[in-house]
Every structure is written in C-alpha cells, then in structure tokens.
C-alpha cells in the first residue's frame, strides 16, 4: 500500500473521444495500482473502457479524436502520460511491453517474425542486426516455439494463431520490460491454446519478475492468473482488491452480478447463470451518479444523482475498495451476498487459508 512498492500508479484517468455523435467519455476517473511482479486483472463488460485505459497509458490513443482530459499515470513515480521516455529510456517497448487481442492482425504481414522481434532490440538496446537476430531466436525459444531458428525467417501468415501470440509475447518482452500489458491476449484463440498462453505468461513472470496487467472478460482467467483485480464499469473502476476480495468479499453489486453471470463447472455448486439485466449507460451522456444504478437491484435514490466516493477499505491483503453508497454509514440496508466492513472480524477468519483461486466457487450467505 506504500507508494514505493507500487510500480505503476494510475490516478483519476479521464479519456474522451470526439465522434460525429458527440463526445464519448470512455474513461471517467480510473484509479489502480500495480505492484512489481504482481498480476493485476482488469475485468468488465465490453465497452467499459478497459482497452482505452491501457492504451492511454501506452500512448496509443489516436489523438484526435481521443483526448486525455485529466489524470496521471506514474511508473516508479515518474509521470508517463504524454511522455515517450523516462529515466533516459523509452517507455514503450522497453519499460512497458504490450500484447493484443488478435495476434493474426497484430503482426506486420510483410516482415519476418524474427525481424519484428529484433526491431525493439536494435532500437532500444542498440544491438547490431546480427546480435538482434540471434537474440530474437533465443526469445522464440523462451516462448517455447519449436524450431525457432527456422521460424524466425518465416512470415506471420505461416504461423498459427497461438504461435503468433507467442511471437507477440517474445517481441513484447524482448527488452525485459517491468510491466507487460496484455489486452485480452487469449480471446481470439481456441480454448486449449488459451491455457498454454496463460501458462506461458505465468512462467515468464516467474522467470523475469515482471508485472502483468491482464485485461479479460473471463473470471476463470482472473481466478487463475490474478493477484489483484480492478472491476470496471462504464468507464470507472467500481471495485478493486485482491483476487480473494473480489471473489469472496465482493463489495459492489456489479461484482456480485458478474460472479453470478460466470459459468461454474463444479456440479456440486450447480446454479443457473444469471445474466445482468439491462445494458450499460450511454457514455455520450453518462449519469451523474453510479453508472450501475439503473441495473442494480439495490439502487437507492442517492445512487442515481451522486457518485459514491465511499470506499470500503482495509479488508484483504491489499487495499480493497468499492465505490457504492451501500457502504455509507447511513445506508439503510446491507443486502445479502455483499461484503460489508462491519463483518470484518467475523468473516475474515473463515477465509483464512482458503483461496478463491483453488476453489473458484461462490460464497453463500447463511
């Protein structure tokens, strides 16, 4: 929870886009922090601003039409928004690597895989062509691509999707970044390949100690990979905390809704999937209050008119916070299923030793 421990701190990030229909407020005050070596998962439904958030950090937002109107992102205490270098080193590619959702289109079709991996090495680390080519082959081996030397001379169209994502990873980690941002890295791949890519990311993290920011829709992936989680809704982080906080001590009704909508493959816990009714608010004219209020089963009058700034603090291993009026001292109700501060003492014992990652099941109220 100390600043020093946090590698990347994002505060009050606001991003909007000019469109023909008006201004889209895609990201409206996002906060999160990533500690060195940990995995932060950012979850939330389509269009909630996950990609825009990380692309702003990477300086990949097309401007115009995009605009970062407020906020900061600090890497080891240095502001990186609008900067290309800090500490005398390039940020992108050297200090933060990034991989994308669709490996099929994310690589240059007219350049060999080896050359594409060698590029950042030549540019950021000043390696000679030959050295960079050799290092590219080694990186392909590191990402478990068989016959790496031969593969390095091939073009993207000669690779399968899974292999391409491995090559993307090789490229992103080439300069040993401290953070790897992965924007839905497995969404475009089939299930068995997905698992392999996730395993690879975990192995690489163990070897290099890099932090990972993983964007996903899949709570199964979150349970498997993440140390901490930021749940986004309509351009805001509505809840953040450790993975156990999010799975076992959900403090925001939206998090609870997401969990109920997650399929479980444990027959003992057989329960029907419950989709969240309704749809996210219009980001052209976002509501003044909580974006989730219209869909929230517990919404109160205040929820619609004012944003809840009452975070629930200090429960799990890391700071656990939810932006929800139900946690206000004067809230008239404490709906079942949600975790409340008052019950800290009694509930916390129950979770000691038990990890959400292993059990991955919904807690039930008694």
């Amino acid at each position: 929870m100390s600043e020093q421990k946090d590698l990347l701190v994002v505060e009050d990030l606001n991003v909007e886009f000019d469109t023909y229909g008006g201004v889209v407020q895609a990201v409206r005050g996002v906060d999160f922090r990533v500690a060195a070596g940990e995995t932060l998962a950012i979850v939330g439904e389509s269009g909630c601003g996950k990609s825009v958030t990380v692309q702003s950090i990477m300086g990949l937002i097309p401007m115009p039409p995009g605009r970062i109107t407020r906020g900061s992102a600090r890497l080891r205490g240095h502001e990186i928004l609008g900067q290309s270098r800090i500490d005398g080193r390039e940020i992108r590619g050297a200090q933060i690597g990034m991989i994308f959702q669709d490996p099929m289109t994310s690589l240059n079709p007219t350049m060999t895989i080896g050359d594409q991996i060698a590029e950042p090495l030549q540019v950021h680390r000043g390696l000679s062509r030959a050295d960079a080519a050799r290092e590219a082959i080694r990186l392909l081996e590191v990402t478990r691509i068989p016959e790496a030397a031969k593969r390095a001379k091939q073009y993207p169209f000669e690779f399968s999707g899974g292999m391409l994502q491995r090559a993307m990873i090789a490229m992103a980690i080439a300069c040993k970044p401290e953070i790897l941002i992965a924007d839905e890295p497995t969404t475009a791949l089939d299930v068995t390949i997905q698992a392999q890519i996730l395993d690879l990311l975990q192995e690489l993290q163990a070897e290099t100690g890099m932090a990972i920011v993983l964007i996903t829709h899949d709570l199964g992936v979150v349970a498997r990979m993440a140390d901490s989680v930021a749940v986004m809704y309509a351009g805001k982080v509505v809840e953040r905390g450790s993975v156990d906080d999010i799975f076992y001590r959900s403090a925001h009704p939206y998090t609870l809704g997401l969990r109920a909508a997650m399929p479980s493959n444990d027959p003992a816990l057989k329960q029907s999937l419950q989709p969240i009714e309704g749809s996210p608010p219009d980001l052209f004219a976002p509501p003044p209050g909580c974006g989730y209020a219209p869909r929230c089963p517990h919404a109160m009058v205040v929820c619609e008119s004012q944003p809840a700034e009452t975070p629930l603090a200090g429960t799990g291993a890391r700071d656990h916070a939810a932006h929800c009026w139900l946690h206000h001292d004067e809230s008239p109700m404490k709906p079942a299923g949600l975790f409340f501060r008052e019950s800290d003492a009694s509930r916390n014992e129950k979770f000691e030793g038990g990890s959400a990652v292993e059990e991955g099941r919904n807690e039930s109220r008694r």
Binding site: R92, T105, S106, N108, T110, E119, P120, V123
Partner: protein, 310 residues
Amino acid sequence: MWSFILKRLAQGVITVWFIATATFFAMHNVPGDPLLNDRAMTAAIRANVEAKYGLDKPLGEQYVIYLGNLVRGDFGISFTQENREVNDIIREHFPVSATLGVLAVLFAAAGGVLWGALTALYRNRLPDYVIMFFVILGISVPSFVIAAVSQLALVGVNAALGVTLLPVAGWGTLWHMLLPALVLGMGTMAYLTRLMRSSMLEVISADYVRTAKAKGLPAARIFTKHQLRNAILPVITVLGPSIAAITTGGFVVELVFAIPGLGRYFVQAVQQLDYTVIMGTTVFYGAFLVFMVIVVDVLYGFIDPRVRMQ
C-alpha cells in the same frame, strides 16, 4: 518462386497467341482493302501483289503462315511503305515510345505513392485538400487537353524567360522527354494517388501499426518499414494495367509533341488498313504489356511474401 515465374510466362505466351489470333481474324474481317489506293492497279499487278503478301491463299493457310512467321519473330512487310519491314519500323520507333512510357510510369508511380502517402498523413487538412483537388483534375481532364495546355504554358514560360527552359516539342535529349512523360503519366499518377491514399489510411489504423507504436519505434521507422511497404501493395497490383493505360495514351501525346514513336505509325496504319503493320504493332504491344504485367507480378512477389510462397 521460379515455378511461379515459369507459370506466369506460360500464361503470357498463351495470352499473346490469343491476341495474335484475334487481331488476325479481326483484320481480315474489316471492310476495305489495303490494296485499294490511288495507284492504278491492273488485275495482273493485283495478283502479283496478292501473291507477294500471300493474300491469294485460303484464310486458314494464311493464318498458319502468319503464326509461323510470328514464332520466328517476323512481322512481314508493310503494305503502304514499299519494302519496309514491320520489324524495322518497330525496331526504329519502339525504343522512343518505350522510353517515354517508362519515364511516364516512373513519374506516375513515384508521384502516386508520394502524394498518396502525404494526403493520408495530412488527412482532412490543407495539403490533403490541395492535392486531392489536383487529383480530381488529373483524373477528369483527358490527356490531349493536358498535353495541349501544358505545351501552351511552356511556350509562355519560355517566351517570358527569354530562354528555352524546356523544348516544346520534338525528341532527342532528356529535356525533350520530361514534359511529355509528365503529361502522359498525369492521369495514372492521379489515379494511383487516390489508391495510395485509401490504402495508406487503412494501414495507418492497422493493428500491426499499433503494435509497432507499442514497441516504441521512431515514427520514421514505423512509416517506412510498417506503413509504406504494406500500403504500396495495392498500388503495385494495378501497375500492370497502368502501364497499359500509359502506353496506349502515348499515341496521343506522341502526336501533340511530335515525337517519332510507334504510336504514330500505328494510327497511320489503321487509317490506311496496312494489315501487317497493324498486326505487327498490336501483337508486339500486346506481348510487351503481358511481359510488363508478369514483371509487376514478380515484383509483387518480392514485396508480399504471401504471394511468393504460393
């Protein structure tokens, strides 16, 4: 790669044979008679001349002879220019047309790629509007108008300066070639600019360009290695047909600028129904264009690995 080239060459030979056949039968079916001119022609002389050109034989036999000569690279003798071989005409005048054409294609391709990339990079800003205005002009104004107007303008400029900046017509030095080549390539340049613009716009927002940015590469490197090379592919595919457009357009420009190219002979030959010259130049041009298209295809293969590997 080699099998690819061989395959394309074989296809090219078939195409040329097809062109030769079509030209032959078309020529023998047009009304009129190449031997009908103002000279007195008795039946005896006529029979002699017909025998000389093989016109007395049945059409099938003529066709076989014609093909046989073609294979040996012999296009025959002109009807209207006594005892002049078509091969000589081509040998003498084609290099002029080819030089003009090649120069025009270079202008068109280089200009198209450059202007197209610029308009895309300055999309919806002043340079884009200015260039696109000229593009629309270049596409809609026919080349003989551009030729005449530019010639007139050059006359004016030369007169105003009191020196001959560039020669207004004729042939001989590189200076003679510049203006006609530019005029000849203008329409194609405009067309290629438009193509390059849309292709570049597509590439600018491509995922792999985002990847290149995420790698922290300098803008110049992203432009050359990731954007330009990919954006140029569609331009190269239409380069073959563009060469065809330019060479055929050459006929008019050669006339306006008094350039002793092959085009002039072709037009003359058509007017005089000079069978052998028409057939010879048509087949020759056809073969040349087919060859250029193959060259372009091979070039494409070098730039786009997906084509090369198949």
